[in-house]
């Protein structure tokens, strides 16, 4: 028995020692969650829970929204999106666009430097964009650069890097030639795949330069000073050209994934802002006045697999769409301030005259159980009689499940359809099932990449990579091709309204709601900018005493 006690004793000592180490490493910075002004002297600290660990801190490789938020603080491109997701010139002081809208000449600001003080030149842009296109790097978002002439050819291995039409004319001038007129190109240059990267760091360690706060060199409002134990700390970048606009002394990102934990930390004051809110708690949190509903450019919808009976019948698709009470769904089930969707393209996209694309397009349908019943009868299923068994496919999530349960019940009540089954699949399996078209009705969501209806409409091209409904319409395809080559903003928007008309007439999808991003923010947090196409910008954020 002595041996046993000895082992125990050793074990205990080991634990104490290990914990000791933990203490030392944990105390070298300011702990998160301390109230501003307390203990830190006059330091102004803001703690935001970004919600997850980054998949990668390489802006060219990253794809997610949390990463976009991290990069927004550390990097800046030729343009930067403002709070309305509209691009404003940033590192570029001015831009000349050729008559045919194909050649953009950017003039950089004077005296731009990296966070380490080295000069930032037009050549950095050229090299960085070419790096993002390098097939060896194999970046997911390389296609965001395909608008540049020669880019797609180089990235797909059919062209040379020298034919990519981006060129540094001198230290301060960058010239870009596009494949076709691209009205949203200024939004694109604000995107992370278009960020300049500090080349010497990449050359030194091409794989791992972005793994440590020590080796990441940025050019944005903040510098990453530490990244360990599920937490990132930023301090203002003194070398940033607009450093005076930065008010915070320290910005902390925590990486708590669990929504309930996040909320508890917010309520105990350990964090100042959350990245989401658990749906069922929203009614209670609304009363605190700290619930903020941020815009988020996206639509939640159901896809009908139009090749599978009975969904090949347009009347069935319409009946199912009209029989969903979206108002009840968003007020009772999702509860996060989502907007019921009576069309496909979400609100928030400005047209040429500044008016909203959605407002101009209007609603395409409403909640109308009577018409739905008629349509179903026309399709040959009066009161749901003889309606074949249909399946709603969704990926694992409590919210998707609740929405599907509610819709199942609505179809039962409004249409008399009894045999709707719900199938829940693990993410990878679900994506595969959707891609193979091995489903009847599937839940889906689409978040816009940039502020233009095209980012929502081009996916319904016949045989498009994301067209899981197998929808195919010659008029639609033709119009899409025309829009792609069009330069005139007014006609372009008109044609996109026509595209949406076709989509909503054929109804291969059943829009349910427009996304929002409900978050909790302490009332003393001011000046942050939430960008609808992804990310929160803390450049001008501050804490009100």
């Amino acid at each position: 028995m002595k041996k046993f006690s000895l082992i125990l004793a050793i074990l205990l000592c080991a634990i104490l020692l290990l914990n000791g180490c933990g203490t030392e490493t944990g105390d070298n910075g300011d702990s998160p969650g301390e109230e501003p002004g307390e203990e830190n002297g006059e330091e102004m600290v803001l703690t935001f829970n970004v919600g997850t660990e980054p998949e990668t801190m390489d802006p060219h490789l990253s794809t997610g929204v949390p990463e976009a938020t991290m990069m927004l603080q550390m990097y800046e491109g030729l343009a930067r999106l403002n709070v309305n997701s509209v691009p404003e010139l940033a590192l570029a002081e001015s831009v000349d666009v050729s008559e045919d809208d194909l050649v953009y000449t950017f003039h950089l600001r004077d005296g731009l430097v990296w966070s380490n003080g080295e000069p930032l030149t037009a050549e950095d842009f050229e090299l960085s964009w070419k790096r993002a296109l390098d097939p060896e790097l194999a970046a997911d978002y390389a296609y965001m650069l395909y608008y540049i002439k020669g880019a797609e050819a180089y990235n797909t291995g059919t062209g040379s890097v020298d034919d990519v039409m981006v060129e540094a004319l001198d230290d301060k001038t960058l010239q870009v030639t596009l494949e076709a007129p691209t009205p949203f190109f200024m939004s694109l240059v604000a995107f992370k795949t278009y960020y300049p990267l500090y080349q010497p760091a990449i050359e030194e360690d091409p794989e791992g330069w972005h793994l440590s706060a020590d080796t990441i060199i940025g050019n944005g409002p903040f510098n990453l000073v530490s990244w360990a134990q599920g937490q990132m700390e930023f301090i203002p970048n003194d070398n940033y050209y607009d450093a005076d606009a930065v008010i915070l002394d320290r910005l902390i990102f925590t990486m708590v994934e669990n929504e309930s934990t996040e909320l508890t930390m917010f309520e105990t004051g350990e964090i100042d802002m959350t990245h989401t809110v658990p749906g069922p708690e929203i009614p209670r949190l609304e009363q605190t006045g700290e619930l903020n509903i941020l815009p988020y450019l996206g639509t939640y919808y159901y896809i009908f697999q139009v090749e599978k009976p009975p969904l090949d019948d347009i009347n069935v698709r319409k009946a199912l769409t009209l029989a969903i009470d979206r108002e009840a769904l968003v007020t009772n089930v999702t509860q996060g301030g989502q907007l019921p969707a009576f069309a496909y393209v979400p609100p928030g996209i400005p047209e040429a005259d500044g008016s909203d694309f959605r407002e101009n397009g209007g609603d395409y349908y409403s909640y109308d159980p009577e018409t739905a019943k008629q349509l179903l009868a026309e399709a040959g299923y009066p009161d749901g009689a003889g309606f074949p068994s249909v399946e709603i496919l969704y990926n694992t999530s409590e919210m998707h499940k609740m929405i599907a349960e509610a819709i199942q019940e609505m179809w039962k009540q409004n249409l008399g359809i009894e045999n709707v089954t719900l199938t829940n699949q693990e993410w990878g399996v679900y994506l595969n099932t959707r891609d193979e078209g091995d489903f009847m009705i599937a839940r889906a969501g689409w978040i816009g990449d940039y502020l233009d209806p095209y980012t929502f409409l081009d996916m319904w091209l016949t045989d498009g990579g994301n067209n899981n409904s197998r929808f195919s319409n010659a008029d639609y395809d033709r119009l899409l091709a025309e829009v792609r080559m069009l330069d005139d903003e007014v006609t372009r928007m008109e044609m996109m309204h026509q595209l949406e008309d076709i989509l909503m007439e054929e109804m291969p999808i059943c829009p349910i709601y427009y996304y929002t991003q409900p978050i909790m923010v302490k009332s003393y947090v001011k000046g942050y900018a939430s960008i609808a196409v992804g990310g929160i910008d803390f450049k001008t954020a501050y804490v009100e005493e």
Partner: protein, 309 residues
């Protein structure tokens, strides 16, 4: 004994090879791949990525290639966490999980064995019912409920501890309690029942009849023999809690290894799945080997080397 040890190590290596092979087949058999997302990547870009990670090669070549790296101790790059290696992920995160796991293990063994002994000695009396009541609650409340409740009361209601995150000793307390709940309760019940088995044995009665001091009998004979099932359970328990718990790490936002055991499968991050499986199986098989040797220390009559013929 040396022959046995060699045979044991050899069979362990063979077992690990089977684990790798089966896992490799399974993960390629299930639908989905590492570079799939809600937004389909253009096929040309997908081809670039697959070429980069040699996923465009036939499976048997990938398999042989992977094994040749594993033999050299290289578990390969992660597909999802681009730029990171599996070795790097384990090196960064295992210490966190291990620290929490050892703490949990110590609580479970000390509290569990202690409670079990007390319950057995007072069989059918108040201390027995009280410990068994709590240990039943302990095994019927899973860590995700226990963790949430602990956080609600200790962090939110009473403000005694930080709700989540990692770095200071205070951060260890709640997750360790949440993790230790079930094993403590189970060990207590296991100890109690095997203690009772031992206490009723003839040699115990003899020892008591000889008038040896009661505590000495309990310590030297009863606990020693009753500890065998606890030792058995400790092997897989340690392997599991040292490698972290997905649920508890998620609730308490702990940057440990447990998360990757689950997310790597959701992400179809092939190298991470395999690397962690190998890591875990080495730990498990090693600890089970250690458990077998511990048997012979506790009860020298136990023979591992051969059958009874």
């Amino acid at each position: 004994m040396l022959g046995y040890l060699i045979r044991r190590i050899f069979s362990a290596l063979f077992a690990i090879l089977i684990v790798i092979t089966v896992t490799f087949i399974f993960m390629h058999a299930i639908p989905g791949g590492p570079f799939q997302s809600e937004k389909a990547i253009p096929p040309a870009i997908k081809a670039n990525i697959e070429a980069r990670y040699k996923l465009d090669q036939p499976l048997h070549i990938q398999y042989v290639d992977y094994l040749s790296h594993v033999v050299r101790g290289d578990l390969g790059p992660s597909f999802k966490y681009r730029g990171q290696t599996v070795n790097g992920i384990i090196a960064e995160r295992f210490p966190v999980s291990m620290q929490l796991g050892l703490m949990t293990f110590a609580i479970a063994i000390i509290a569990g064995v202690g409670a079990g002994i007390i319950a057995a000695l007072y069989q059918g009396r108040i201390p027995d019912y009280v410990t068994m009541f709590f240990s039943t609650i302990g095994i019927s409340v899973p860590s995700f409920i226990l963790g949430t409740l602990l956080m609600y009361f200790l962090a939110f209601k009473w403000g005694l501890l930080p709700a989540a995150m990692w770095g200071t000793p205070q951060h260890v307390i709640m997750p360790a309690m949440a993790l230790a709940g079930l094993p403590t309760a189970f060990i207590a019940r296991l100890t109690r029942s095997s203690m009772l088995d031992v206490l009723n044995q003839d040699y115990m009665r003899t020892a008591l009849a000889k008038g040896l001091p009661r505590w000495r009998i309990i310590w030297v004979h009863a606990v020693k023999n009753a500890i065998i099932p606890v030792i058995t359970y400790s092997g897989p328990l340690l392997a599991a809690i040292l490698t972290g718990s997905f649920i508890v790490e998620n609730i308490f936002a702990i940057p440990g290894l447990g998360k990757h055991f689950v997310t790597s499968i959701y992400n179809r991050d092939y190298t991470v799945i395999l690397g962690l499986t190998i890591f875990y199986s080495i730990l498990l098989i090693g600890l089970n080997m250690f458990v077998d040797f511990a048997y012979t220390l506790v009860d020298p009559r136990i023979k591992l080397t051969g059958g009874k013929e």
